[in-house]
Amino acid sequence: MITDDLTALLALGSIALFVVGLKRLSRVRTARSGNALMASGMLLAVVITLLEIGLVDYRWIIGGLLIGAAIGVLIVVRAQATQMPEIVARFNGFGGAASALVALSLFWAEVVEPTGETTAAAALGNAAATTLVLSVLIGSVTLSGSILAELKLRGTIEGTPQIPVRAVLMAVLALGGIALGATAVFGIDDPATAAALVVGLVVASVLAGLVLVLPIGGADMPVVISLLNSMSGLAAAATGFALSNQLLIIAGTIVGAAGLILTQIMCVAMNRSLLNVLIGGYGGEATEHGEYEGVVSADAESAAMVLEAAQSVIIVPGYGLAAARAQNAVYEVAQALRKQGTQVRFAIHPVAGRMPGHMNVVLSEAEVPYELLFEMSEINQDFSQTDVAIVVGANDVVNPLANTDPTSPIAGMPILDVENARRVFVIKRSLSPGYAGIKNPLFERDNTVMLYGDAKQMLDDLASELSSNVR
């Protein structure tokens, strides 16, 4: 049929938009246009699908699209810049759930609802029946894992509770789920029994997702979400097999593969292995608070006096900056310093915040010029020629233990060498440990001065002290 050939050709256009878009999204200059290309690829895919299904009853289709689009827009519009990572986790869970639900809908439509007694394998074919089970399994794991990841990022669930015999439990849940699913689609021709077994598959998969993510600390959630993202792609591909939809197979598989590579890249940036991340137990609960000795603190006024004399300042933002929503305040301080002729730069650690690139997102909200932001490798050697380093709500990424203590949980993680600056100001609420839950000897250094307080308040005070003195 002509329409079949036409839609198949158009689908190729959609795939081209996805591929070129994803490529462009991985380069700073072209990222935004890449995202737009991928979105138009998705729109084209929807149009193609509507052409393919032809004239049908559109009530559910239009209703579903409108409700989904409205909720999606609402979630993004209402989100704060600091919540972006959580939002990504939530959307990812929805995507996984959608793939599982498509597979379940297909199962109900073809096996449970028809009156005849037949197995799914007989109704759909062996390959479709197998991938249907995989889609439900992977999609459900993605859903529960992503929801838990969102709660961990938000801090609703803290710590890294260890689950005894976790690996065995995971294997039992995953293999048990597959066994239930396989029996349902190959062995049972009674629709009610088959349906009950598939529900068992869903429950086992949801539990497997929880067991997978629960013992992993909040700091590692970015890697987990990236991995779950890869899985939601695979779930979509499995759904594509079950529906014999090539476009779904291709797009899903590309996300699955690219997501896996991105996960690997993130692990390298944190100097961790994926296995090490998945074993969990890293971060979360404070393992050793440690006592601090000889810590010096000061107030905004005396800190401002030091800053007035500084020729060069490097600001190191961390999650505390995002949590206190202090991005505008920190830029005000930077502008006040620049007005008096001080060189100001921002040093961005690759894993500062709760997600790689988190700081760039937050600072760009305050319209901090891109030229002021420097990656760790570009700026780390400059601390020794810098008058003042201001650490705002960062902890683990400036902890010298990473270099000196091979037994430390963060050993080997590349850090920003702020201690080499002539003077270090650390803006922090207290001496409490960061995500890795360990003591930070930086706070005891002779050249370190703690500025206790809320990051936004302290930066506002600094900015007003600085600007009042300029006059």
Partner: protein, 93 residues
């Protein structure tokens, strides 16, 4: 070559493509790239569309509509949130 084998070919080649597509990514773009790829995984939306083409209400249609809504949230919200992250990034020229 049967249709299943074609699908397997497509799957394997797409996997190679995905592996090669992403090589060096600056840390700045890790989050937006993850977010964009995540929006793309909402492509399962087109699977949901093919399952809700009747007016009647049944378990399969309810599951399909739920899938359609969640996938659309994933797609629309995902591309939007990625654009929001990138909107104020420098280096657009």
């Amino acid at each position: 070559m049967g249709p299943l084998l074609v699908s397997v070919y497509v799957f394997v080649l797409a996997a190679f493509l995905g592996f090669e597509l992403i090589n060096k990514v600056p840390p700045t773009l890790h989050t937006p790239l993850m977010s964009g790829a995540n929006a793309m995984s909402g492509v399962t939306l087109i699977g949901a569309l093919t399952l809700v083409t009747v007016a009647a209400v049944s378990a399969s249609v309810v599951l399909g509509v739920l899938a359609l809504i969640l996938a659309t949230i994933n797609v629309v919200g995902g591309f939007l949130v990625t654009d929001r992250m990138l909107s104020t990034f420098g280096g657009r020229s």
